[in-house]
Subunit: 207 residues, 2 copies
């Protein structure tokens, strides 16, 4: 193992240089490139360069919200674990995941729906929960769409990156049909680590 | 959104059916297939069918350790968050990640090495930490290799799936050269979510 490998900062710099090199002719506006490269850094999967779609002003909208102390809601503990909470905290925000809450489990059971859906209902009760990261449950994204359409939520960014074979792609199409700032990974790919990487890329741009 | 989508159990069954179908001629022994399909379920990336390598008796070795109450050590909070801790707890084990420990940060700084390396040294101090999941840091895997070679660790399973462009592939090759039960994803791909999926597949087989 080379000595340089013991310095995480250098490993990351070298990784991003390799990613940029291998992307070759595929270039992006600076901010968009930072997000896409961080997702590739997290997955080693260059397909994300083609499937990651960022709506106009999504990054700006998210950064303004974070500057204002907005909280971030995730649909998994993994996405919450992956987001740089120390960086977010500097602006006053925190990361919240309601999936393991007792009242969420109870309501989901009573109503025969997913905890992910109930967790979105709970999330929109606090209007300072302004950024949503859905890395797992298409039902969370469909539910958030409903809440947005009913005027119960007006997010500053929805990171819609559920991974999977049943409903994931469709839930992202549904998100893209809405008039909200969004970032999606079209098709089946995505996941909690991808969602966290997108948020971290946005946070690191704010330094 | 179809009503079936509100039942997570049915979504998962349908997802695995799609994965099996799309794998086509690629079939695996039952236990190995369960691990590979769960990784694909987590990533929507069929390349894992080709790069996931499971050493002989690795699954059996891990299950015996878990039955005996072994703990699982991860190199990220994300992998820890992703592992089904309730299932593991039934056997008496818990998931441990030392990356955020104050003493680990302190020692890493003093010695100019990564926290991931120090966290492995700390992990092997308790001989009941018998399963290791490395989803992020090649340095953790290289360090674990050293500890194994020096006789300071004798794991019942090492899940070596660091993702990345600098050292990740090499660290997995190093793991494969050892005489320990291992599961790796050859090359650059992997990650905390992949590591957690592998452990969960092993846990779900034990039901």
């Amino acid at each position: 193992m080379g000595d340089y490998m013991k310095v995480p900062h250098q490993i990351e710099e070298r990784s991003f240089a390799i990613i940029t090199e291998e992307l070759g002719d595929k270039t992006f506006p600076e901010d968009i490139g930072k997000i896409i490269k961080r997702v590739i850094h997290t997955t080693a999967d260059f397909e994300y360069a083609d499937i990651t779609i960022i709506s106009p002003r999504a990054i700006e909208s998210a950064q303004r919200a974070i500057q204002g102390g907005a909280h971030i809601v995730t649909d998994t503990q993994m996405a919450k674990a992956g987001i740089n909470k120390a960086k977010l905290k500097k602006f006053g925000g925190e990361v919240r995941c309601f999936m393991a809450d007792e009242d969420v489990a109870q309501k989901a059971k009573e109503r025969g729906i997913t905890r992910a859906m109930v967790s979105m209902e709970k999330a929109v009760e606090d209007s300072n929960n302004r950024i949503f990261v859905i890395g797992n449950a298409p039902t969370a994204l469909f539910e958030l769409k409903r809440l947005i359409e009913e005027g119960k939520a007006k997010p500053d960014l929805v990171v819609g990156v559920p991974v999977g074979f049943v409903g994931a792609a469709e839930s992202k199409e549904a998100l893209e049909s809405l008039d909200v700032p969004y970032i999606v990974t079209r098709g089946r790919k995505g996941g909690s680590a991808v969602g966290a990487a997108i948020i971290n890329a946005i946070l690191y741009m704010m330094e």
